[in-house]
Amino acid sequence: MLSLSDIRLTFNPGTATEVRALRNVSMQINEGEFVTVIGSNGAGKSTLLSTVVGTVKPDEGSVKLDGLDVTDWPAAKRARYVGRVFQEPRLGTCSSLSIEENLALAAARGKKRGLGLALGKKDQKAMFAEHLEKLGLGLENRMGTPIGALSGGQRQAVSLLMATLLPMKILVLDEHTAALDPSAAHKVLTLSAEIAQERKLTTLMVTHSMRDALAYGSRTLMMNAGQIVLDIKGEERSRLKVSDLLERFGRAAGTEIDDDQLVLA
């Protein structure tokens, strides 16, 4: 369970470029919930994710994972509880390292890294192959290939696998299909939803697409100007269409949406 309480964060305070990125954001995500987050550019979606993964420390407020206060934990320390997939396929994987080496890095997440060889551990390769096979991309036969030789969609699929290889408390997906072509994006999204459901993962997914925000997951948050303005779940959400969402958003935020990318998606 993830809980944020009264998170405040201001970038460049006291200067002309001051941005109040998060204003009193409080929320709770229960175990096994799949939450999609939507909002226009600059609404604070990415900053919200950054406070969850630990790359940004809030000015005020606390971040708790299963009751454990991790607010002051740096991202590397938090990684043992947080699985993360980046927007840019290049960011989530190491190009020069092979698929197997990348997976080995993920398999050691949250554990003490020692002087034992990273590859060649008993049963490890078979375990990787089994996971890769589930992706349905034939990558289990190409484990020695450098990740850089794969397509963006394949890299994102491996990245998703790396994020979910070990047990964790929360999976964070940061617009992880935004850089992919539509068919690859669909495949990776479906895969994400499948893995999250099968493993009952608590998931936080930021997306630019209103349709995806409603089509995947069990709960949708909408952000505007650093605040959560809508929180929809359950039956109410299942009846909701994109046009309803737009209208609700307009009422909640008191503005018209002017972000074309968001409306069209």
Partner: protein, 312 residues
């Protein structure tokens, strides 16, 4: 070229293979353009020479030299990681500081170890191959260092170090502390360089405070020549390239000097090295643009990386 000059070229080449491995660790693996090496090379020499003169066993003295080098690299890393000083400047600061430190350690600008027991005299007393004794010992050390680096980069920590150098954001998401990796990698790199300095002093019979000038450029030349010959597809090839590149480079220098090639004299060496490195970097970047995959992120020419990214 005389046999003596040939043996000398092999000796110096194998010695600078260690420097090339050091630069491979910092520039390539860690993506940290480290200039500390110009200071840690004479640091290794100074510490070992002082220890030998002070009556220590030469092997232990050499080990002290390596430790001192590791400490120097650690300081550079700390300046960058902990205090946020730009990596190039952090290295320059360490390098400048080490000049004074080295003078302090030796108590004077140079410290002879003539007539003292060195690792070379010890080795020669066991394996006497005449003119080639030093070369054999240095070959064993260079290949040994290469194999240790290969092994290390395959361990869990080593793989973490490679990830941290290539993609810090990904490394962090996998629970790797990038700062710690920088400190570790810089310590290893400078320990290697100090080992080279320590052996150089024992081979030449003297440690000199100015002997580090141009270490970085010579090491880079060796690294780049090695990459040109063997490529850098795998760590094994890249480190082998360091050894071969360093030897090839010194052989060419020796050849040029002995032939009196267009009037080249020993004092021109640094200029030639700089020119060789500049030309080699430009050429290797051109080749990179023709579709050859870059194994590491680090770019030696501004703007070259963007061009490569479009290719793969």
């Amino acid at each position: 070229m005389t046999l003596f000059a040939l043996a000398g070229a092999f000796e110096t080449g194998l010695l600078f293979a260690l420097v090339a491995l050091s630069i491979f660790m910092s520039f390539r693996v860690l993506d940290f353009p480290d200039l500390t090496v110009d200071g840690s090379f004479p640091l290794g020499a100074a510490v070992s020479a002082a220890a030998i003169v002070g009556g220590f066993d030469p092997f232990i003295a050499t080990f002290f030299g390596m430790l001192a080098g590791a400490a120097a690299g650690f300081v550079t890393g700390l300046l960058n990681v902990r205090f946020g000083i730009m990596n190039l400047l952090a290295g320059i600061l360490s390098m400048v500081a080490l000049f004074s430190v080295n003078l302090r350690i030796m108590g004077r600008p140079n410290l002879p170890v003539y007539g003292q027991d060195t690792v070379f005299s010890r080795f020669e007393s066991v394996v006497d191959a005449g003119l080639w004794s030093n070369t054999i010992l240095l070959l064993i050390i260079a290949i040994g260092a290469k194999l240790i680096v290969d092994w290390f980069l395959k361990t869990e920590i080593g793989l973490g170090l490679r990830a941290s150098g290539e993609n810090p954001a990904m490394a962090e998401a996998q629970g790797i502390r990038n700062g710690a990796m920088t400190l570790l990698g810089m310590s290893i790199a400078n320990a290697l360089c100090a080992l080279a300095g320590s052996l150089f002093a024992q081979m030449q019979g003297v440690a000199d405070v100015t002997m580090g000038v141009g270490t970085i450029v010579t090491g880079l030349a060796a690294l780049i020549i090695g990459e040109a010959i063997l490529g850098r597809r795998t760590v094994f090839l890249a480190t082998l390239g360091c050894v071969i590149g360093a030897v090839v480079y010194r052989l060419f220098i020796a050849l040029a000097l002995s032939a009196g090639f267009i009037g080249i004299r020993p004092q021109d060496l640094n200029l030639i090295t700089a020119v060789v490195v500049a030309v080699a970097v430009v050429l290797s970047q051109r080749r990179g643009k023709r579709g050859r995959k870059q194994l590491f992120n680090f770019k030696l020419v501004r703007g070259a990386q963007q061009n490569d990214e479009g290719q793969d």
